[in-house]
Amino acid sequence: MTVFLQQVVNGLVIGSSYALVAVGFTLIFGVLRIVYLAHGAVLVAGAYIGLFALMWFGSLLAALVVGTIGAAILGLLVEFVALRPVREQNHLIALVTTISFATIVQEALRLSVQGGQAISYPASIGSVLLQTNIGGVRLHVTVGQVAVIVVALVLVVALTFIIQRTWVGRSIRAVADSPLIASMLGIRVNVISAQTVALASALAGAAGVLLGLTIPAIDPYIGEHLQFKALAIVLFGGLGSIPGAVIGGLLLGFVEAMAAGYLATSYRDLFAFVTMVVILFFRPSGLLGRRLVERV
């Protein structure tokens, strides 16, 4: 029972960070309709920027804010350098430019920070251990883990508000429906595209900082696996569906936590890929989404 409850808590923590990454990812896919693979690199950059802010200011909040803003700026850079010049090209070109950009970011981090060695967040308020007793069961939770859940919740709610209730959000949804019609109505598709990527990257940056608080150490490559998992979640939830991404993220978090608790750990990462293959095969539109396969 203790194992079960502890894994539920762990699943909630992992799932929240997955959801945070996947929500931004799904936004980009839904609006831009490209194979975007620079999200993981932006996340890692956010984690590193947050780490430096934490060492500089000594405050968790500052780390979170600086990491988020830094990632958003990097997101804008991705849009300007890797997406905007190749907008009219086919899927492959955007796939390759975003991979190239991601590689540049990762390599720059590897070459500049401690020779690519894994580096841990310093012990701070985030690593304080809370112990709670629920019905006689002793659970271990750190402040950082609580922060992950709370911040993820706040950011997802804020994003939903932006998408549903503001003019930026309305424009984003219009472009997601049809870039052509949206541009006819006077919406500047380039600007919306930049805003979308910046917004999604901000969430990735926050996720990066939160991840740094919860895992033992970060290195330039942690984003890669996370990105694949986010891809699976996005496909599962449906391209462009924020609720789908949240549900998918939490679900994958729970499944992985349970697998880690009861099965061989090394199979844990397989779930994401099996999910992707199964989803693409049987329900290409995802759980809550539109058709993914373009009709001719």
Binding site: P85, V86, Q89, L92, E107, S266
Partner: protein, 297 residues
């Protein structure tokens, strides 16, 4: 740089070249099959397992690896074609296959799981690799002049017109996919018998990047675009002292730059056409326009 390390460098790069040409085939039809790392892994593991544990002769094991990888590619692409995945979905599907295979290999005890497969007998030598690469290149040259090669270009141009001319579209695509996967497997077999130690993580996303970026950099319109890309981004940086550390970042930056300026890569149909035109004009001042305008679109 000693002669030994030079030889190793050339061998490895030639193996990469074979794999890149295998990876090029789906893209020459504008199909986003990015599962090459998986096909290379199938070839590498199959042939290494056969020579190490079953005492199968090297040539036979190499063929077995090639066939297994071709079968793998055939199955993956048959499934993807069956549910009519396109563009984005196709890329994700094939990538998931490769990654899932890597994770499964990481857990199979028979092939050493994540510790890797050790003690593979050394069979691959530079002459063998060079000869294979030459044969593959010649094969591509021939392929461009066969009906299958022409169909490939037709599918790239418009795959919805092709069936109207009575061409079995799916069968043609699958044959080319299988050849591509097979080449990947062949490269894998050569690789495993050269480095003598393979781990599942050798065949991850990094391998895809190492093949994909130079290929797109060189241009997808002709197979020698992929060759040129690999030459410029793979061979040359390896020979420049001190650049090895920055190889990946240089590759990525160069690819990004070329795609921004020239989205179709270095060598395109236009490049070929204009080169031909210039060449013909010099050779025959009266200009034979019929020669220069074919396939110039």
């Amino acid at each position: 740089m000693g002669a030994g390390s030079l030889e190793a460098l050339v061998t490895i790069q030639l193996i990469y070249l074979i794999a890149a040409l295998g990876h090029y085939l789906p893209f020459s039809m504008k199909q986003l099959d990015v599962g090459i790392a998986g096909y290379v892994a199938i070839g590498a593991y199959t042939s290494a397992y056969l020579t190490r544990d079953c005492d199968v002769p090297f040539a036979l094991a190499l063929v077995a690896g090639t066939v297994a990888a071709a079968a793998g590619a055939f199955i993956v692409d048959a499934l993807a074609t069956r549910v009519r995945l396109t563009g984005f979905a196709y890329a994700v599907f094939s990538l998931s296959f490769a990654e899932a295979l890597r994770i499964i290999l990481n857990n199979v005890e028979a092939v050493g799981s994540s510790g890797g497969l050790v003690g593979i007998p050394p069979h691959t030598t530079l002459p063998i690799v060079a000869m294979t690469a030459a044969c593959v290149l010649a094969g591509f040259w021939v392929l461009d002049r066969t009906r299958l090669g022409a169909l490939r270009t037709a599918i790239a141009d418009d795959e919805f017109i092709v069936p109207i001319f009575g061409v079995p579209l799916t069968a043609t695509k699958l044959v080319i996919f299988a050849i591509g996967g097979g080449l990947g497997g062949l490269a894998g077999g050569l690789y495993s018998h050269y480095v003598l130690f393979i781990r599942p993580d050798d065949f991850g996303f990094a391998l895809l990047i190492a093949l994909q970026l130079p290929m797109v950099f060189g241009g997808l319109d002709r197979f020698y675009g992929a060759v040129l890309g690999l030459l410029l981004l793979g061979f040359i940086p390896e020979f420049v002292r001190g650049l090895a550390q920055y190889r990946l970042i240089v590759t990525a930056a160069a690819t990004l730059l070329v795609l921004i300026v020239r989205p179709s890569g270095l060598i395109t149909h236009q490049t070929i056409a204009s080169l031909k035109k210039a060449f013909c004009r010099r050779a025959r001042p009266r200009g034979v326009s019929g020669l220069s305008s074919d396939r110039s679109s």
